[in-house]
């Protein structure tokens, strides 16, 4: 599972402009143009490294924080099979987090530092996980639609230029298809169930639609920075294109079950082939991402609690003389 469209991270004002060696840069870009992947020990521009670390790190945080709203439902999952499947899914998400942290580590930022930045609020994670999963229907909506969005995003990113990220995403995408199927099954089960089940599902869709529309991030500004991210194959498609792809694939699947979507403007324009919708409330998006959503505090508090409660174990096993090395690939 993952969140979100990636937006160029502007450099701090105190950072002097970094001028790359033009020859190295040209060789690097030629490599990408030839479709070759970049490995950790290859030369890469400062900006490429910085933007990738931030993107992969956010992705990793989204996986481990994303497991929290679902994890809360393990004890209350309806039925044994669903409970087992949900446990398996939550374990997958944590596993994805580990794979992604390892990929980010190959770029030179330690896992410890990434977790510190998550807990201090410096690093972000997908905004959707700052909303609560109120009923079981919310869990099926997350499992179906958020994971569907994640697959669109991750499949695009898995064709990017940085090899360790691509390798991690390949593993992740294979597992996500199980999540999507599991979520869809639960979704269909409720949609074709009793009137109460249908109402519960409709309520959950109504609640989750705005965060789902936020999921791919605001429209990319047309700028040299966005162009550079696309040129370096850090970003593989625009946020709007990915949102459109999601609507194209999944809105018909919701509508065919007689579930409505709380957006009167939502329709496919047959002339342009693109979906039209009410512009998501981006003020709300930025308000929540900056810490003011319904669950931001709870998510980070739980993360901190886990970190602190497990620390004595890690410290007991800590060997100060071990030689630390970044993961290789």
């Amino acid at each position: 599972m993952y969140g979100g469209g990636y937006i160029y991270d502007p450099e701090s004002k105190n950072q002097a402009t970094i001028v790359e060696d033009p020859e190295m840069l040209a060789a690097f870009e030629a490599k990408i143009d030839r479709g070759e992947k970049i490995e950790p020990t290859d030369w890469m521009p400062y900006e490429y490294r910085r933007q990738l670390i931030r993107m992969i790190e956010q992705h990793a945080h989204s996986e481990i924080i994303g497991a929290l709203p679902e994890g809360t439902w393990i004890t209350r999952a309806p039925g044994f099979k669903r409970k087992m499947a949900l446990i398996a899914k939550v374990q997958d998400e944590i596993g994805h987090g580990q794979l992604l942290y390892a990929a980010a580590e190959t770029l030179g930022k330690s896992r410890e530092q990434m977790l510190n930045d998550l807990m201090s609020g410096k690093s972000k994670y997908s905004n959707v996980f700052n909303y609560p999963a109120k009923t079981w229907a919310d869990v099926t909506v997350i499992g179906f639609l958020i994971d569907a969005g994640a697959i669109i995003n991750q499949l695009a990113n898995s064709k990017g230029s940085y090899a360790p990220y691509c390798r991690a995403l390949k593993r992740i995408c294979a597992e996500e298809s199980f999540h999507l199927k599991q979520g869809y099954e639960g979704f269909v089960y409720l949609a074709t169930g009793t009137p109460t089940q249908r109402t519960m599902l409709q309520d959950a869709v109504n609640r989750w639609w705005p965060p789902i529309m936020h999921f791919f991030g605001p429209a990319d500004k047309v700028s040299v920075h966005t162009e550079k991210l696309m040129r370096w194959q850090v970003k593989m498609d625009t946020n709007d294109n990915m949102r459109n792809e999601f609507l194209e694939q999944y809105v018909p699947k919701i509508w065919e079950l007689g579930i409505t979507i709380p957006d009167p403007k939502l329709r496919k324009n047959l002339e342009t082939g693109r979906w039209e919708y009410t512009e998501p409330d981006w003020d709300e998006f930025f308000r929540v991402i900056n810490g003011n959503g319904p669950c931001n505090k709870e998510r980070l508090d739980v993360r901190r609690w886990v970190e602190e409660s497990g620390r004595w174990v890690r410290q007991a096993l800590y060997k100060p003389n071990e030689m630390y090395k970044m993961p290789l690939a």
């Binding site: 580990q98 508090d301 739980v302 609690w305 970190e307 602190e308 620390r311």
Partner: protein
Amino acid sequence: MSSLDPRINRLDLVKTLEAEDIAQHQHWETYEVFVQAKRGGHHTHVGSLHAADHDMALIFAKEQFARRGQCHNLWVVKTSDVYALDTEDADMFADNNEKKYRNPGGFKVSDKITAYKKAQKQDKTETDD
């Protein structure tokens, strides 16, 4: 704070103010993991993980890389024990395909055999005449 999750409400989440200061290397060392999908195959590198020792690395490797799908055996190796070439040195392999004498394709005999057979046949025809 009241969560929708009863388990979270039972936790004492207040005493967690020092969490966000994990010292460097508190998550131990990294290990590279190799999976042998089935008996008789190669062990293939699949990724890395953090662990305190080899035993823990094997347990985590099983959880992380062998949850589903095929796995017959696992290896874990400390990343710091892997000595690797620099990827920038890949050009040393660039002329590998030019070394025809290292490949079966570098040794062509059929032309010679055909020529030989043809010559033999001709000799025979001349003698018969």
